[in-house]
Amino acid sequence: MTANQEYDVVIVGSGIAGSIVAYQLGLQGKKVLILEAGQPVPVDRSGYMETFFKANAKTPESPYPPTVQNPSASTPDNPLGLPDPSQENVPRYTVLQIGPWRNPKQCYFTYSPQEPHLTGDSPRANFAFASSYERIGGGTTWHWLGTSLRLFPNDFELKTLYGQGVDWPGGKDFYQKLVPYYEKATNEIGVAGDKNAMDQLYAQFGVSPTGQYGSEYNYPMPGITESLVDQAYINSVTSITVDGNPVFVTPTPQGRNSLPGERRQCAGNTNCIPICPIQAKYDATVTLARALQTGNVDVWYRHVANNIRVDDSTAEITGIDYITYDTHGGIPTGSGTVSAKKYVLAAHAIETPKLLLMSNKNKNFPQGVANSSDQVGRNLMDHVMYLAWGLAKDPVFAYRGPLSTSGIESLRDGEFRKERSAYRIEIGNEGWQWAANDPFTTLADFVFGQNNSQLNGDSVNQQGQALRWDKNLPANSQLFGAQLVNTLNGIYTRQIRLGYLIEQLPDPENRVELSKTETDHLGLPRPKVTYRIQEDYVRNAFVSAKKVSTEIFNAIGATEYTKLPPAPVFYGTPAEVTATNFQYQGDNFTFYGAGHIVGTYRMGDTKEDSVLNARQQSWDHSNLFMVGSGVFPTVATGNPTLTIAALAFQAAEHILEDLKQVSA
């Protein structure tokens, strides 16, 4: 493909951030080129659906190319048949790689070795990163949940208010400037939300609905109907307080249609992650299509950006090099360079820093592009998650509706943030699908007489309660017929799950670097990741989450089934070591990923401690912008996508301002 077209802007990545910027610039008549490393957006999603239906492990990545599991390649040390990342042109990290994180034949990331002599509770323990992303047209919103919460104003001043982490540049002023863009983001995504419920929530935290929300604040669609699972909590949890905060349930603003419209009305497929089969859930292909329809935006798929060129005298970016390919494991088919007036990196928080660090051939920037601060790749964060699960006393009919329709947002801020991380609690509608791989685990237990669900044996929970489902049945029962039907029905319909999204602090040692030993099939270095949870501040939130879960389950009359994780194993063969287990205050914990990859090219007030200024513009290269959750100085207390979108709208305006100056 040749570039006869003169482009105003080149964007790397076609996910939500890159697509919003492209759309906004295209609307203003700017010529935009998107380089997308992955495969094109398919004409329809039936192929992705078939891959998903057939997949043995229905992980977030399971529908998407290249395939993440191949049963016909199964071997004893690779039972799921994970592909070798060195043989793929655009490999990515998947949750199936968390287990074999120390095996580079199965895991795309490489990891720092453990330091010697660690104990189970050592803050220096390295873990597997627990969240994944996609490298395809439309990006990772293919498998986002749809949660569309704003961050709170206080989230922007964690340092000033609570002495932890950092502030966002300008603190609360940053939030105030973001308000109109939050509105644009809410409209672009088409969020379904209940304004009254949000007013009630914000009032608890002293946020005024006039002014601080924005004058036009509302949702384009009515809120999504709450589930029967939600109803089990709504009236019963209000008896609890946590560190001075009341506990109450708030219906979640969500990027899925509550009414028919441009996209279909949600049919409750309970499959938002990994894929909404009817696109009732917004994903970035919607905005990408709008961008293309402006007539000013081109997208080149299977174009892998591999180097950024810098002018030696001006430090301006002069071009982006790319490599092309046709098939996932095929040979490179070409290469080239594209140039424009402005450049935008929107390749999410692993591949963006990787590209910056790979671009280390420029004379004055041997540490990589935009990296004079040595901050590129640092401060990698996620919402580290604590999961708790149980059985409600009466049927709540899980596995119905969107994956989550409500949450507990009332614990996201307070004076306690001086002592421990804040969290929001997501209420799951998907039974124990995430928590215990149900319906399959419980099914196998009662068909074959096993007890991995803890329902069919002598298991006792962490509160000392016996967990056998039917006290009249012997341990390890093998059922059939009506007894099997009634047992499974009684269990599945009562299954409940809570997920705590715990705010991780920025830690400069948590970082993405370039592997010195491992490459992908294009010969590009793979990410080397260092990931710890060093701070007691964050670990204290796990202790709180565990205690609060038990209080909530008690309040609603449920029986808790949260499994005590095994003790961490830091040394041994790749098959022996644990990935996400740690000890704290004498207890064993495991953490899960929220899919919120944040912080590796953060904004800040000074060029010494950040990659970008508050305009999301590189301190080092004035014609280079970056968007996406990599810009976040902190992961804060809400799911990131609405904020990613708002920041992308804001960045687009900054780029337009700068383009005016160029033409003037």
């Binding site: 057939k54 709450e226 497929n269 009919f397 319906p439 399959f440 059939f480 017929g481 039907v485 599945y492």
Partner: protein, 166 residues
Amino acid sequence: MTDSTMANFIGLSAVLTGFSAKILSPTLDPVDIKSEYLPFFTQAVTRESGNPDLVNTIFQTFASLKAQKLTDQQIGEAMLADSNGADFVIACRKLIFMWYAGAWPTLIPASDTAPANTVSDMISVKSYTTGLAWQVMQSHPMGDSNYRYGYWATAPAPLSDYTGNK
């Protein structure tokens, strides 16, 4: 495959799963998962047991029990009795799992570090969406809802509507 083989397969499957034969094999059956399952089951059991007669033995045993006008409970207990031999019984149990999960199970024995568990291979696109696990929970396969917006705010139809056993 003879008609009686399929009839025995469906009859046995109904007894063991607790679902009505009318649900497993409806009169009008455009999905026709049974025609996928019977050969799959036959091949898998034959391969795993190394006994080319085992599937036929299972069906003949079922047919003779059925002819004795026993209840479903009695037939099921007789089919799963240890006296039939381990291969016979595990084949019947895997038949249950296949109908519920749409997948073929492999049982992993307990080890020093892990309890016994089960892994499984999805048989086909169709088998996933026809799995009885989704019916026994009075719902739909994840990713294949045939309900309308808001259904999740009200209780589903009674379980008997899903199993076909009133």
